[in-house]
Symmetry: D2
Subunit: 280 residues, 4 copies
């Protein structure tokens, strides 16, 4: 019926044809990629020293290996909280060093890339910037590990071509992160978490693939189920939002877990990982 043939794939360095072994790398003793699954937790935004330390200790105690926390926040409205900026980065550096936990934080401006690389272990390029080419080039040139989120209407080819920018300009340690696509229906969830992308990406590319069920659903109640599903689909990592008091979070409270919810999810994820023969 659909008389369509894809003659060749548009990406090169990101493809399994180019690099036949999985990309695996280690940060602060934490292995990313390969048979290992890695869980990332932390607040949407770094709000204060107390908040980030409390959250970091909690998620680390539950088994998270990576701490997320936003310093520069992309906000749909100019009137929403825009993040602590450099102060947020300094707090991430302090907590990362104190607890020896890997840190990841978003960078939005190419001019900030070199600054952010000094403070955090992994750069994050957000969904809205997936095709921000000056940013991809700056991140690529930094050589710093980078987590790239899929844009809300990005095709798989567009996603892998964005990764290709990073690889082409000098960063080999790239993590892909599925975080949901524009939904058919926004009544009950914020996005549609496209878990098909997990086995598709694992087939096409050697790069590790994470899943973010917090943005992928937008509702705390559904995060844990979709984290399990992401792992079962073959993801190499899960990334969620955790806040000591989600109701008072300055951003994304509606999709954040409490430390107790995160701990319960971790126990479930360990069982699922074991069931499918993955390390967690």
């Amino acid at each position: 019926m659909e008389s369509v043939v894809q003659i060749s794939r548009p990406f090169k360095l990101a493809s399994r044809e180019f690099r036949k072994v999985d990309t695996v790398f280690t940060l602060k003793g934490v292995t990313i990629g390969g048979n290992q699954c890695v869980i990332t937790g932390g607040p949407c935004s770094v709000e204060s020293r107390e908040q980030i330390f409390e959250t970091a200790r909690a998620v680390q105690a539950s088994g998270a290996k990576i701490l997320r926390g936003g310093a520069y926040k992309p906000r749909t409205s100019p009137y929403a909280f825009q993040g602590l900026g450099k102060e947020g980065l300094e707090l991430l550096k302090e907590v990362g060093d104190a607890l020896n936990i890997v840190t990841v934080s978003e960078v939005m401006d190419p001019a900030d890339v070199s600054l952010v690389t000094e403070y955090v272990d992994i750069l994050q390029i957000g969904a809205r910037n997936m095709q921000n080419y000056p940013l991809l080039i700056a991140a690529g040139r930094s050589g710093h590990p980078t987590l790239l989120k899929r844009g809300p209407s990005a095709t798989i080819d567009e996603f892998l071509l964005a990764a290709e920018y990073l690889l082409h300009h000098g960063t080999e340690r790239v993590i892909l992160c599925e975080r949901g696509v524009h939904p058919i229906d926004r009544t009950y969830t914020r996005n549609t978490l496209d878990l098909n992308s997990v086995p598709v990406l694992k087939y096409l590319t050697h790069l590790p693939v994470f899943v973010d069920p917090a943005h992928g659903t937008g509702v705390t109640r559904y995060v844990s189920a979709m984290a399990r599903a992401g792992l079962a689909a073959g993801a190499d990592g899960i990334m969620v939002e955790v806040h000591p008091n989600p109701k008072e979070a300055l951003s994304d409270g509606a999709q954040s877990q409490t430390p107790a919810q995160f701990d319960e999810m971790m126990q479930e994820l360990r069982k699922v990982a074991q069931a499918i023969g993955r390390d967690l």
Copy 2:
């Protein structure tokens, strides 16, 4: 930001407010709903006695409790194979009785509902007919167990309102089946399997929820991973396509598993079910 409030839900009989306990029912000794997970396998189309018996024996040996097989086939093109019709139903009845396996088959025309109910245990209403109201009313009036597939661009409310037609007109034994929504990208998969719908539906409704990763991906290579993900997300059943020789299937060969692939998937699904405390 999104200043939107849902004042009330448009469905009644399908809601957890209306019926606080899960809908659970038994067919030929097979329990559907509750803590039990049920796997459905079988060919897209019933093609011959030999094909349906061979497939039924294989999937039953691997642990499937329900046999699927199309007799009336909705085909995008008028020039494609349209199914064996009544002969297909007779073969399903024969194999269902001989092997004591539950059978499910699609009905497309309201005028065929009473005929199909005589031959198969569960009526299927396909994605393209999710809002075919004369068909929903006829199926509802039959009181026969019915598996309702989600339409390719149906919202959750539209899906549950289609189920409401069945419930309102007299069928209590309704199974909902997520089978993928219209995709952002058709380069690598046929649909986007929307697994968010699983925890959302489990929250909103008391009806059992199945997942069809064969239509949800359209590619055999990805079916097993997405079946595991569906189960991990909380599905009460998985529905896939199995054909003794997918390359020669008269329909949907590209997404059908061989009996060996199905058997391997079943072993994985048992481990995932155990990990999340479900019976399989």
Copy 3:
């Protein structure tokens, strides 16, 4: 970049390769297709003799050549008004004869096709039934003129293959109707009217193409602008909803025009038609 090649088109009878001249036909002296543009107005549902006569007289006085009116209504909820059924058909027949105006009404059940053909000049197959194959086959076999609406997530190929069912089974007088696809955003409109489909369809097929800006927007305020746009894009007809008192309409009041709004739109459409060299 997109290394995709369409080798052949899946439809035959609907294609310009098969039939090189435009399909043009005449009903009650009204020409459909060719250089002529035709406007269709009328209520979503036939509600009473008074309502349908009043509306028919008004739209005819303003220049409409076709009267629409639903007797069998596809409703998302089983609790919504389902139409007057056969009584509605009888009223349409009466008003169509009395005013010598062409009538169109939706049929949902294959079993109703022969009945509906006795009462109205044009069968309508609604968006939700675009891939209801028993219905397409029954309509096709009737040979009756049929207006086929595009499904909310139907691709152009799927739309033309649905028309192919009608053509293949015996109906040559087929009108295609774009009525909007599933939207990115439902905050301000009910659907996204995909006017790209107008020049695309005019290029691919010989069949006349109508546009329905009432369903395409869902909001009366925007109907007139999108009717003009549809005509300017090359549509052969426009189909809108008109009700003497939209606020009291039993269905689709939010997208219905008053007779005065319809009249004003007609005057604008005449100017646009003249500007692009079409008859109206």
Copy 4:
């Protein structure tokens, strides 16, 4: 049915409630906004002095008031032509001065904003950067006229909130440009030109609204019909791609018009503008 109520709109400065008269401004004697319609033509990329001068003279002779031309090109692949950069800006400045034609060109990096404002009359923020907040802030602070393209899956609220960033940070002369959203179907067009957005935006905001049918269709054959439709829907401007030899264009050749095609379109657009009482 859909029990959803929007309590308040999230944007302020962009709303008609805030500013009750249309935003109208003049550049090089060309009025943008109000009753005037303005046509923009030019190549996707500035390729050489000869190419840009030849194109500029042609489109100006046909009635275009604004010349477009890319110097910094956002390209999906890192291996595609990335634009001439500053040399392209210099050529735009030269041709804009020589022919006294308004110029518009895309800026992608916040660090380039001040440079680009020196060379061109209107900054363009492309669809992929619609939510690139550092870029919006830099453009807003420049106070330079800015044309903002709608992102491929941006809702109307997200689009107006991106404009709100520009307005909030200091730019009053903002043009919104609809250029198509992610399509249901990429078989025949590259995007779905969402013309519903035109009357919706004209209702919600005081800002001028342009339509880009070149990106909105991706196919030269359909550009002219959709330009007419955009104007008929109420657009204040149309933006298309023109190249002396589209087959040899370094980017977007498949959607570029020849100067002769552009001239023919202009004649049609003048008639449509006249039909709806707009100046062109």
